[in-house]
């Protein structure tokens, strides 16, 4: 049977029409592609491993419950290997080849510093939990949202604890010579002074310095009532704690989360030296004075246990922020779909997203979503199931 030109055109038109009509039906069943950039190997992978446990659990739960309007979430993971270069390569692949709708991560600031500008150029919506202040900027990175605190909030919480809760007015601030240490001390010292505290000692010391006794003695003779170390170096922090212990000096040590890490603990000369050491943490995932977690976190722990997710070698807030992020995205996609501009518009009006890790809110002018009041200090020596006791002096939430 011969086919005339008119018949061929008719068939082609019909086929084209059928394809056009069928498209939305197929798209509705397509998975939602979410790019994920954790460091699950390499030197900074402990954070990524913890967060990934929560992220994967949330995606499993969402998909098991039918997905988002019938569409499954497909997590496309690229391990950054704790390397900013590989993070950039992963981000480029996710946006150009995999064509993801949104990217969660990277999870370490060093990698995010490299990736955030790239994702801004490719106009990809990004959510990350990294603390470096410059990693959000509504003008430069209008599609980038942070569902964690900034370094300013971290330092602010420590300062508030020392000055307002412990009522200490003479403070020693010591940092290592890294960019993080120097920048933190330079940012937090003026904040302390504004709060009426007197910084009686400020030192910037090489983290490899094996003997910190001269520095601690200098703090002591200056009349310091609290020590605030800013460093992520467990060796440096443990030397401060050990020297304080050797001198039988019982001033509180208040500062960054590494003070409460297993690495720091392993370097202590005596376990009791960890007393009166208060690192940063977060109220929604901390044990209160009654020894109980807030209901949301308690229910989350039960869910983790029933899914046989290990908490002994990680921190609850890492798993929590990993768990919250896919749910936050799923809610947004359910409300406005996967269009980037619409998603950004949704997040710009997000108010009190009730996560395990915290209540997240954004505005068009503020893409740092974590509330100040939920950043708190905890007792370093109270770790249980990845969570700590609130430091003494905090009232009920």
């Amino acid at each position: 049977m011969s086919i005339t030109r008119r018949q061929a055109l008719k068939s082609a038109s019909a086929a084209a029409l059928a394809t056009a009509i069928a498209k939305p039906a197929i798209a509705a069943k397509d998975p939602i592609l979410v790019g994920y950039l954790p460091a699950v190997t390499g030197p900074s992978s402990s954070t990524g491993i913890g967060i990934t446990r929560g992220t994967e659990l949330a995606v499993q739960e969402i998909n098991k419950a039918g997905g988002v309007d019938g569409r499954q979430i497909e997590l496309i993971t690229r391990d950054t290997q704790s390397d900013p270069t590989k993070a950039v390569n992963g981000a480029a692949e996710l946006t150009r080849a995999a064509k993801v709708s949104v990217v969660f991560g990277p999870l370490n600031s060093g990698e995010s510093l490299a990736v955030v500008p790239l994702l801004a150029r490719t106009k990809t919506l990004q959510i990350h939990p990294c603390w470096v202040d410059s990693l959000t900027d509504v003008k430069k990175y209008p599609l980038c949202f942070r569902n964690a605190p900034t370094n300013q909030q971290i330092g602010g919480a420590a300062n508030r604890y020392v000055v307002e809760v412990l009522k200490k007015k003479k403070v020693a601030v010591i940092s290592d010579t890294t960019g993080y240490g120097t920048a933190s001390a330079n940012a937090y010292v003026p904040m302390l002074k504004q709060m009426g505290a007197e910084v009686v000692y400020q030192g910037n010391v090489d983290a490899a310095n094996p003997d910190l006794k001269p520095e601690i003695l200098r703090m002591q003779s200056a009349g310091a009532e609290a020590i605030m170390p800013w460093s992520v170096n467990a060796g440096f922090l443990s030397r401060i704690i050990n020297t304080r212990g050797q001198l039988n000096w019982d001033v509180p040590i208040v500062g960054q989360t590494t003070l409460g890490s297993g690495q720091t603990k392993a370097l202590l000369e005596k376990p009791e030296y960890w007393g009166k050491v208060y690192p940063n943490n977060f109220r929604p995932v901390s044990y209160g004075a009654d020894g109980k977690l807030p209901p949301r976190a308690a229910a989350f722990i039960d869910r983790l246990r029933s899914n046989k997710i290990d908490m002994s070698d990680t921190l609850l807030w890492w798993i929590g922020v990993g768990y919250d992020s896919p749910y936050m995205l799923a809610e947004a996609i359910k409300a406005v779909g996967t269009d980037t501009e619409k998603l950004a518009g949704y997040f710009n009006k997000l108010k009190d997203f009730a996560g395990v890790y915290g209540d997240i809110s954004f505005t068009p002018e503020q893409h740092d979503g974590y509330p100040d009041k939920q950043v708190v200090m905890v007792e370093a020596n109270s770790l249980k199931d990845g969570a700590f006791n609130l430091a003494p002096g905090y009232g009920a939430a």
């Binding site: 390499g42 030197p43 910037n204 490899a208 003997d211 001269p214 520095e215 200098r218 060796g235 392993a266």
Partner: protein, 285 residues
């Protein structure tokens, strides 16, 4: 305060002196400044921690294992980073090759062992006190090394051979000495001395990959001040450096202590270009 300065200063000074001796032993055998010296110290500490704390081996086995690891790294340094550039010593390519090897080892340690400082075992199960083992172990290691090297160099045939190639390797070769084998043995010896520094100072410095550049820099100062290849000068300069650094830590503190150390280093070198104990080398022609 004085007690603290002396204890810490002498202990750290002994570690610097041991690293300086490792530099010198390698230099004497090859005329090459191998910037892996500090890395050898770091490896001694890290291997000690791995063998004793992670693997649960007895301390003496961990100690011997760390020394063997250091010696092996010394041999690898000679084969990989020194031997290929010996023919063009005047171009100073060894600076690049030894630094590159040091960086490779340092980064490998960071990736495999971790970027955090990790605990180092107590060597002797005795209570902590003022004159603790973390202070006297580096001093003991330094004394043992000095005495051991003196005995080796002055009273053994191998020691005489080492001194011969250090004095004039062309003449030594002409006399039939196995220059390559002796050089390899010197690097192994330097590796063991560097690892000894890291093991003896492990409680003070912890097992930490970033100790490598710190020891490389501070270990080089006694070499420059004491005179290149001069072990006695290195020991005296190492002790002075440790005491000066600790005094600066107490008097000015923080990063200013490091500034004070290097300012003093530059001033001394301006006044004594051949080092405090050095003299211009004279050679009969």
């Amino acid at each position: 305060m004085v007690e603290s300065i002396v204890l810490s200063g002498v202990a750290i000074g002994c570690l610097y002196a041991l690293i300086a001796i490792a530099y010198n032993v390698m230099f004497s055998a090859s005329r090459v400044f191998s910037f892996t010296a500090g890395t050898l110290g770091m490896v001694g500490g890290v291997l000690g921690s791995i063998f004793v704390l992670r693997m649960g081996l007895p301390v003496w086995v961990g100690f011997l294992g760390a020394l063997a690891g250091g010696a092996l790294l010394g041999i690898v340094t000679e084969i990989v980073a020194v031997r290929p550039v010996l023919k063009s010593l005047d171009q100073h390519l060894y600076v690049l090759s030894t630094l590159a090897l040091a960086l490779i080892v340092q980064q490998f340690t960071a990736i495999e062992f971790g970027t955090d400082a990790q605990p180092f075992p107590r060597i002797f199960d005795i209570a902590r006190g003022g004159f603790d083992q973390q202070y006297w172990l580096p001093m003991l290691a330094c004394v043992v090394t000095i005495v051991g090297l003196e005995l080796l160099y002055r009273h053994t045939l191998v020691g005489h051979a080492f001194r011969a190639i250090a004095e004039d390797n062309y003449a030594a070769r002409a006399l039939g000495l196995p220059e390559r084998g002796l050089r390899l043995a010197s690097f192994a010896l330097a590796g063991a001395i560097g690892a000894l520094a890291g093991f003896a100072g492990g409680q003070l410095l912890l097992a930490f990959f970033a100790n490598a550049p710190m020891l490389t820099f501070y270990g080089f100062v006694p070499v420059a001040l004491g005179g290149m290849g001069n072990n006695r000068g290195a020991i005296v300069a190492g002790l002075i450096l440790g005491l000066f650094q600790q005094t600066a830590n107490f008097l000015v503190g923080g990063i200013f202590a490091s500034v004070a150390v290097f300012a003093a280093f530059i001033v001394v070198l301006l006044a004594f270009p051949d080092g405090l104990a050095g003299a211009s080398a004279q050679r009969r022609v």
